[in-house]
């Protein structure tokens, strides 16, 4: 059996594409390696999506998931390993091989790590990539935030209400985040900004106990209970490098039509080359990618 469309990734972009595909009466399969919803699931309260203010990321994702399922979208929890191009595309997962006339890649992005020894081992043991998820475990403790963008600044603000002390470690002199956030951070008495600095070592066996930083080439030690890493996100498109063109950062190259250079392969959401990566643009991409895929299918 050949699907009209196989969507890789059940985040907001992927599920929206699937909904549009089903509403055009196409046979759709969504493949997801982890759980539906993607990145938004960790957000406690959504404040910037039209008409859905205050809804939790989990509830938002669940509603889209249920909508897709009720329309007749098939969703399988399998990990896609490879896609082979042809008039019929072969989608190989860790369990099966599926055939499809079109593919929508909507794999999103993941947290960028610092790339330090011990980092992975200490995740959940003092190292975190989500301040709003894990901040509550650091009440009255000493924490550090790494990064200089809006996410890092927002994390530091959030944590400064909970923790006894917050260090902000940033590799440049100036923050790249919004001026309003920077001003708020500077006004917090329990936040100490450490510019021109990088974390070079993580200490702790069972639990993070401290970090070594290098500031202007001088090494220092910081005793911290928690380290919140907010140094950006990276796509996970390596497995599609032979199928579609990637830019230097690993994003799949496509303009607002969501059409890649490979016929019948579309891309939607955060994994695409674009400037604004938001919930609403992910949904927008899903609709555009599916609509163009449907147009292509109807011409076959």
């Amino acid at each position: 059996m050949t699907y009209d469309m196989v969507v890789i990734g059940a985040g907001i972009a992927g599920l929206t594409a699937a909904i549009y595909g089903r509403r055009a009466n196409k046979k759709i399969l969504v493949l997801e390696s982890r759980t539906y919803g993607g990145q938004i699931v960790s957000t406690k309260s959504i404040e910037n999506y039209p008409a859905a203010m205050g809804i939790s990321g989990f509830e938002f994702a669940t509603k889209i998931y249920e909508q897709a399922v009720s329309l007749g979208v098939e969703i399988k929890f399998e990990n896609v390993m490879e896609v082979i191009d042809g008039t019929e595309k072969q989608i190989k997962t860790n369990q099966n091989v599926y055939l499809a006339k079109t593919v929508v890649i909507a794999t999103g992005s993941k947290n960028r790590t610092m790339g330090l020894a011990n980092e992975e081992k200490l995740i959940g043991k003092g190292i975190s990539y989500c301040a709003t998820c894990d901040g509550a475990f650091f009440k009255n403790k000493i924490v550090a935030v790494v990064g200089g963008g809006n996410t890092a600044l927002g994390d530091a603000l959030y944590l400064s209400d909970l923790a006894q002390k917050v260090y902000m470690i940033h590799r440049r002199e100036q923050f790249s985040g919004e001026a309003a956030l920077v001003e708020q951070i500077q006004a917090r008495s329990n936040v100490e900004i450490i510019p021109n600095a990088q974390v070079v070592e993580l200490w702790g066996e069972k639990q993070l106990t401290g970090v070594k930083i290098s500031q202007n080439g001088v090494e220092k030690q910081l005793i911290v209970d928690g380290l919140f890493v907010a140094v950006g996100r990276v796509p996970e498109n390596e497995k599609f490098a032979n199928l579609v063109e990637l830019d230097q950062h690993g994003y799949i190259i496509a303009d607002e039509s969501c059409q890649t250079g490979t016929v019948g392969i579309f891309v939607a959401g955060d994994c695409r080359t674009k400037t604004v990566r938001q919930l609403v643009t992910a949904a927008g991409d899903g609709a555009v990618a599916a609509t163009n895929a449907i147009k292509y299918l109807n011409q076959l």
Binding site: S42, K44, G57, F58, I123, G124, K125, C133, D134, Q207
Partner: protein, 104 residues
């Protein structure tokens, strides 16, 4: 999944013979809500393993004792001793691997 708290943790978890999976979670945590049905499904299949749920907001002492600093956090114990744990959402296959070869 049985809900346990600081009052009955010792009798329901520590003093249990065999394997116990403890799911540390909170109502406000999205990935925890995602993980719940996966664990429930697994609990139905793995009859020899006991599955319990601990709310970290209501049981901060337990969360501290087990060094829980990120949720969801699933801790696997045998005869009351920790064998291994998984932090963050995990699909069923990963949790199955966690249990593999650990039967009492």
């Amino acid at each position: 999944m049985q809900i346990v708290d600081e009052n009955n943790f010792e009798s329901e978890v520590i003093n249990q013979k065999g394997l116990v999976v403890v799911d540390f979670n909170a109502d406000w945590c999205g990935p925890c809500q995602m993980l719940k049905p996966v664990l429930e499904q697994l609990a139905n299949e793995e009859k020899a393993v006991k599955f319990v749920s601990v709310n970290v907001d209501q049981n901060q002492g337990l969360a501290r004792e087990y060094g829980v600093m990120s949720i969801p956090c699933v801790v696997l114990l045998r005869d009351g001793q920790e064998l291994t744990r998984n932090v963050g959402f995990a699909p069923k296959s990963v949790l199955q691997d966690l249990l593999k070869g650990k039967q009492a």
